[in-house]
Structures are given as C-alpha cells and as structure tokens.
Symmetry: C2
Subunit: 359 residues, 2 copies
C-alpha cells in the first residue's frame, strides 16, 4: 500500500492518524461492539461523539454561546438555498460579493427566491482578487451580506473580512479552521466539511442565535435553522459517520497546536510554494498577491501542453489532484490542513526538476 | 473485540463483511493510494463506485430506465419537504395515508407549504394496522398519494400497496430492499439509507422521470429533483462515503441471492420471532397480524417493570437496541437485512429463558 500526495480540491486529503483511528475502530467504537455507523443517533455513545465534535469546533474557533453550532446535510450547496429562505424576509434583499465560482453559485441560488444585490464582482478581472474594503458599498437595508471567504478555483481569499452593519455570512468551505478568525465578526459561518474538517455529506453551520428566530413561517420545518438548533442537530438522523470524523479531526488539530499551530504550518506550506512560483518566469501565479489563498495555490506554465505534461508526470510521481479547474485551466495545488509539509516538499522538488528539464 | 447483536431501529446493523471490507480499504481504495473519503467526486475512481452503487440498486430492485436513481442528502426528512415542493403544484393538494409516526411527520411537513388530504388515519386505533384497500378513498384531483410502507415504531407495514390513479409515493426507509416490490407501481420511492442499505446521511430516491419535470419555477435549484437527475447525483459533492457503503451492501446482497434471497431470510427471521410471541400469553404483539412488519417486531410484556428488566438483561447478554420507542413503550426488535439469523436465534433463546424465569 503506497499512499499518494493528495492535492485534491475536495473531497481532499484527510490526516493519516484520523484514517488509522477510524480504521482501528471500524468494528467496535468505544467498546460498544458496534461500528460508529451502527450506533443509534439517540444513544449515549453517539451523544458523546457529537458533543465532543461540537466542543472541538467551539474550542478551536472560539465560538461563544451566542452562536449555535450545527451539523447539517446537503453541503454548502443546500446552504446557498437555506440562507435566503431563512434570513432574507419576504420583500427584502441581501448583498452579495462575487469573487468567483462559489460566490456566483450562491448568488444564482439566492436569486431564485428573492432579491439579490451584487455589490462587487471580480468577474471582469477574471476573479484574480478579492475587493478592497473601500470598493464595497453595502445596501443600507440588506438583510445580510454574503461572501465566500476563500475561492478554491481562483485561489483567492479575503485577507481580512469586510466590516458590515448587517450580519456578515461567509461560506468558509475551503478554509474553515485553517487560520484564526473572530467568529463574532459574523452572523453566520458555514462550510461543507469535505475540504478541511471531514468527509463529504456534512456541513458545519455556526449561526448567531438571534438570527435563528428570523425565519418566515412558510419555510419547511426541515429547512429551518431553528429546527436543528432546538434539537442539537438531532431533529432527524444526522450523518453520524461524518460527525465522528469531524470529532477525530478536531482532536488531531488540538494535538498539533489548534488553529494557531495549524495556521503557522499552513502559512509555511503556502509560503514555500509561492516562493517557488515567484522565483522564475517559468511559473505564473495569476492571483493578486494580496488576495493569495493559502489553501488553493493556482498557477500556469508557459503552455497548455506543458501543463498537461506536468500533471501527468506528477501523477506518475505519486502526486494527484494537480489539474486546475476546467473553467480556468492550469495547475492547482489544494494544500488543506491535512496535506503534510512533506507533500509540499515533494511537489517543490518535482517542480524544480520539471523546470530544469522543460524550462 | 466482541461484536454485539444489534437490534437498533436505525442507524442499525451493517453486514460484517461490508464493515471488514471498508476497514481493509480505509487507507487505499482500489490502488488509488487514498481513502474513498479522499477521492475527488469527479474522479474516475469515484465514478466507478457511484455507477456500481446505482447499477446495484437498479438490478436488485428491477428499476427500469423510466426512473432516475438518485443519491441525495438530508435523509427521508428532507424528502418530506422536497416532495410537496416539487410534485404538488401551487393551489393543488396531495393525499396522505397516516399509518404512524413517520407518515405523520411527512404530513406535518407537507402542510407547511400547501394542501394535504389525510384519506385514512390509524391514529384512533393506536396505529396497530395499515388500511385495507376498500378503506382508501383517494381524492380525484390529488397530485400524488403518499404512504409510509413500513412504520418502525408501530411495527406495521402494507402487505400490498394501494392501487392509485395518481402517482403513488412511498417512504420505504425501514424496509427498502427487504422484499420484492414492483417499482412500476410507484411514482417515487425514497429511503433514508441508515436502516437497510447504508449509513446515515444518505437518501436513496427512485423517481419516475416524467415527474422530475413537474417542479414549479420558484423552487430552489438544490431542492429540485431535476438538478440532481441531470447531473447523475453529482450536482454538488455527494456523501461519497455513504455511496461507497451502499455499493458494498448491494454487492453483499447479490452474493446472498438478491432481493429474493434476502426476503426469504427476512421472512424466516420474522416468522421465528412472531412464532415465539404467539406461543405464550407472556408476550403480546399488538400489531394486527395482517399488517405485521418483517423488519420491526414490537411486543409487550406483562408489566413495564418486566420490560425494563428484559431490556437490561438482554443488554448484558450482548443484545442491544431492544427498548421500544418512547412513544409506545414495550420491546422492539429491528431485524433489518444485516441482522443475521444467529442474532434472532440468540434473542429467542434469551426470551425463552427469560419467560421461564419470570413467567
């Protein structure tokens, strides 16, 4: 068995110690004589797991009791629909910042059910940067402001988050728990788990408790945040396996120094890679430097032929997931929390060798 | 490591060979060097898994090309909301048969967004039976008829399904793939996976393709069946782990003779258990005999004290999940596909011993 270096954009690499623990416990979790998948979600054994997962998230991100922490299904894509249904009351509108593919998808979904103001768009600049604070003029009567804090496809992020008078809502799917944030700056944070904190099929929602009460009466019961908050994410059967993996990942993150430790490692990994990209004209990283993501590093080679060769030879060398998104081409290395430093070192060694042979 | 006999109502027992295979492949699926959780949902490796899962479902249940097979998130509970949003057009109503807790939950959710006709309810009879065909007078203009084909809490099922002029929609969460059915009798079948075909966090939807076109325009993109059907359940990142387990389970079911083999085993397991319950006045199985579920067997003992003692001593003997649902009390053994015959034999031996000591 040879494990590869996994640069997938998501679902993505998981920490090896987490996989090994899940493997060891597969037939018997905590002496129960059952797989975690076979536990009743109403059992004490599972309650201990979901409580630990929530406590792990709260501790790592510093989430106060003013916020509910929910484990939901449907990924970020269901949140694109749920947020306007719950938080944008009839006849009102919400502000959106369009920084790329994921922000656009949220906008498209929100338009189906009501008013949307796109207050800034990077589309004409090919989504190479996030906006500066002075470029953002929010609507006075917006119900909320929505951003995607890190765009996986363009490889850009908000270095700092906009100041808003209304609740700020952020899709953090591709960077949740990768750097320190002040949760209190947000009305709501959400993330599909499959990039940084778990497997696919699970979404983490952190929502200020007063917002939970905003939902109009005609919203289906299942789609109301209050339904899940009132029942501790157990209104219906949750993704128990996914929550278990989140619990293992929060344990793993604590063991390596929490968010502060993780951020330091992540900045080191991204810094090394951007240094190589900046060191030669062979590589071109199109994202604006101030907006560079530390999770998704995107670059081009002198030709599409060389890019295809790079991806193919990297794969043969045990490095997978390096092909850029089909909408922008090029190369993309997604270097989430679970991608180890040695994967970056291997990639850089491969890049230097590739450049020497093809440059 | 001692595995227990697991009579949980859901999440429930999984086949041991499935767990062992998932364990063996945890760090490396199909020579990819990755866990299945680490595969891109756009990769060939994952496409092979979801294709195999769909093919397995289609073969086992005999699903024709007139139907889409979808792997969705949110369990049956999200379907309770999605079905009326998609299939009950504005100003119209749908017929519901109220056979218990789960049918009622579907009714409650459907009422939030539009017209509901409850054409029959077993509530006043404490949900001890499903209706006879002649008791069902459907509305001429209903958009569809909704049933829950097997109620886990009351332990009752439809021995045969109602004949309807409009699409029949069945929540089969607690009996999917446990007995032969004619899919062509239904407009749609859906099931949370966590009882008979996989882990929680996944819902199987089998929907007639013409119905997919019915959705009103104001339904959010994510909540439209067409969105997921058009993209082969890959509109967004699905629950890849759950789909993988479904694939392993359909393989396992094929290996033991498909639905016909499974049904024979299930009828044998349930028959043995009901025989014991019918053999003595110590036990009382309240469900009407014609409506008896072969998945969830519910019974009472002479007193609540004896019931508590039964559950407690069974647990000490390695049999868990036997406490009846809090809304009805008593004992419940959920004996889904993955509960082996030896678990039933162990339970029966325990019951005979318990009766001899306490009868």
């Amino acid at each position: 068995m040879a494990r590869v270096y996994n640069f997938n954009a998501g679902p993505a690499a998981l920490p090896l110690p987490v996989l090994e623990k899940a493997q060891a416990e597969m037939l018997d979790i905590a002496g129960s004589g059952m797989s975690v998948m076979e536990l009743s979600h109403r059992s004490k054994d599972f309650q201990a797991i979901i409580d630990a997962a929530e406590a792990g998230v709260r501790k790592l991100l510093g989430v106060s009791d003013d916020y509910a922490v929910l484990f939901m299904q449907g990924g970020a894509s269901l949140q694109f629909a749920s947020i306007p249904m719950n938080l944008r009351r009839p006849g009102k509108s919400a502000d959106f910042v369009d920084t790329g593919s994921w922000a656009s998808k949220a906008i498209k979904e929100a338009k189906v059910t009501g008013g949307v103001n796109v207050v800034w768009s990077g589309k004409e600049e090919s989504y190479m940067r996030t906006p500066k604070p002075e470029e953002l003029n929010f609507s006075a009567d917006a119900e909320y402001v929505h951003i995607c804090s890190n765009e996986t496809i363009g490889g850009i992020r908000f270095p700092e988050f906009p100041k808003t008078n209304v609740p700020l809502i952020a899709d953090m799917s591709s960077e949740i728990m990768s750097r320190a944030i002040d949760v209190n700056q947000f009305g709501m944070i959400y993330a599909g788990a499959q990039k940084n904190i778990g497997p696919s099929g699970l979404a983490l929602v952190i929502i200020r408790k007063d917002l939970i009460e905003r939902t109009p009466e005609n919203v289906p019961i299942f789609l109301r945040y209050k339904t899940h908050a009132d029942e501790g994410s157990l209104y219906n059967t949750p993704n128990t396996w996914g929550i278990y993996i989140v619990k293992l990942i929060t344990d793993w993150m604590e063991s390596i120094g929490g968010i502060a430790g993780m951020q330091k490692i992540n900045e080191g990994k991204a810094g090394k890679l951007y240094s190589v990209l900046d060191s030669s004209n062979f590589w071109k990283a199109p994202a604006d430097k101030a907006s560079r993501s530390i999770m998704n590093v995107v670059w081009r080679l002198p030709s599409e032929e060389l890019e295809a060769k790079f991806v193919s030879e990297a794969k043969n060398a045990g490095m997978i997931g390096l092909k850029g998104h089909r909408s922008v081409g090029g190369i993309r290395a997604s270097i989430y929390n679970a991608v180890p430093v040695e994967a970056i070192d291997a990639l850089i060694a491969f890049m230097k060798d590739f450049e020497s042979k093809n440059g």
